[in-house]
Amino acid sequence: MSEPAKVCDGQGCDNPAVVQLTQVVDNKSTTQYLCKECARAKGISAQPPSSLDVSDFLAQLGESGSSESESVTEPCSFCAMTFDDFRESGRLGCSHCYTSFEPRVRRLLSRIHGAGQHAGKVYLPPDPSSAELDRRIAGLRRSLQHAIEAEDFERAAVLRDLIRDHEAGQR
């Protein structure tokens, strides 16, 4: 289904179309090709968060005046990615990038997600420290509470077993 790029059908708009909107009205299927802006104006979100949006966010960060010292960040010590590389691609190169560019990444994340602290599942690495185990158990308790509230007793039983196993491992 690969077709040549189309121009947006929005009035007076010549942007490249990114969305095909097909509607069946009066037994006729009408197809409109829309650019991102026109789709958004119609209340249709053309695309999920993508590298494009990340670049937008990064551009905004630049405008909101990052300090001198931050704009000359060293490249990532592990993968050698620079912040400019990231700005261009919207993809980070490795786990160390998160710490290499930490202040900027933190700001970026809170813009994208409206939050900065992970509140989901706590990962337990193959050889966990006792602090990691504690955080993990706390996370499982939150999920357990949720399962009980949702009356998902099968899930609750699984979680209880997991918690018991971890607590046994702690002692």
Partner: protein, 365 residues
């Protein structure tokens, strides 16, 4: 060896069975997790050697039982082009994994067809775990993919940060790494012109909508995919709860719209549905978008019980098996565009006539 899996006609297609809740409106539920291995460059910075190490590390975990025993592990560069395309058409791999920009080695997928779970290796992230099921089953999907994550996470050192959660190549996935979606068929809202308002509402509550085949794809056949947008700051259950509530509301609105249609435009609606059925039943050439739009009418007719058959399951099958690579596979050769349109129409005619194993009786003749 790997391509033998495609001798099994329904490999990876349990989600077509229309057995889940609300399956007449919700085609499928997908829950996916993005994960990376600690100490390895992400795919965008990885060399062929880096990818190979990651692939082998994951393959070892798969072989040590991280995935169910029926799992098939495939390397994309060992599969023919058509087989890759079939995996894409069955939604088991993404276009990133087989497209022109995809790396030429070290990428693959592990599929447990019987458990509706799969893991893409070296897509945008080292691991993309997914569960794809029929109907609206977000919590069940999450439970299955979480179990898989536990198994893999116990054997592999994953990239995780106590503040940012699971680390991903794109910052939009960081935290839970969870993207959950439901694929909804919403002809009622489209025909009553309520769809734009509904989509705007969905965006306003922090969710996104897109077309049938995910990122950047088109809205075809009145199918809309609704998914969470953010991944950091909320627990998985809360993200899924929110999505579930919104999807349930959209389903209610869709059912209301269908009632309005049958009440205020019953004759017109019935005529439209039978026309769509008639075209599918007798057309000699169909392109895919046209087919999807006609199937939408038939699906609506079956859901409203204006058409006695075919069952939803059969409509789902037609959607998948009338795609380009599936038609070429059935023909045993590459088809030109014109041939494909003809083969597609023929396949649909046979399917609706009750051949190819369908138990459907023809109500139209």
């Amino acid at each position: 060896m790997t391509e033998d899996y495609f001798l099994i006609p329904d490999f990876g297609l349990d989600w077509l069975d229309a057995g889940g809740p609300e399956a007449d409106i919700v085609l499928s539920t997908r829950v996916r997790l993005a994960r990376n291995l600690q100490g390895h460059r992400y795919v965008c910075r990885a060399s062929a050697g880096d990818r190979e190490i990651v692939f082998r590390t994951v393959a070892r975990a798969v072989n040590r039982g991280a995935l169910p025993p029926d799992t098939a592990l495939m390397r994309m560069n060992e599969l023919g082009r058509r087989t890759q395309q079939i995996l894409l058409e069955r939604r088991l791999v993404s276009s990133e994994l087989i497209g022109e920009a995809a790396p030429d080695s070290g990428v693959g997928v592990a599929v447990s067809s019987g458990n509706a779970v799969s893991v893409m290796i070296n897509e945008e992230d080292h691991l993309r775990l997914q569960c794809l099921m029929s109907g609206l089953r977000l919590m069940e999907g999450w439970n299955r993919v979480d179990k898989l994550d536990e198994e893999l996470g116990g054997l592999l050192q994953l990239a995780y940060h106590h503040e940012f959660g699971f680390l991903t190549s794109c910052p939009t996935n960081v935290g839970t790494g969870l993207r959950a979606s439901a694929l909804l068929h919403l002809p009622g809202l489209v025909l009553t012109k309520e769809i734009e308002r509904a989509l705007r509402g969905i965006t306003q509550v922090g969710l996104t909508t897109r077309g049938l085949y995910g990122e950047g794809s088109e809205f075809v056949g009145n199918f809309f995919q609704i998914s969470n947008q953010t991944t950091l700051g909320q627990g998985e259950e809360d993200l899924l709860d929110h999505l579930n509530r919104v999807v349930a509301t959209v389903i209610t609105k869709e059912r209301e719209a269908r009632q309005v249609l049958t009440r205020d435009a019953g004759a017109i609606t019935e005529d439209k549905i039978w026309r769509a059925y008639g075209l599918l039943r007798y057309a000699r050439a169909l392109d895919y978008v046209e087919l999807m739009n006609l199937l939408s009418g038939v699906r609506l007719g079956v859901s409203l019980k204006l058409l006695p058959s075919p069952p939803v399951y059969w409509l789902n099958r037609i959607m998948i098996f009338s795609q380009a690579a599936h038609l070429a596979e059935a023909a045993g050769r590459t088809l030109s565009t014109e041939e494909r349109r003809a083969h597609r129409a023929q396949y649909v005619r046979q399917a609706l006539r009750g051949e190819s194993g369908s138990t459907t009786t023809d109500p139209g003749v």
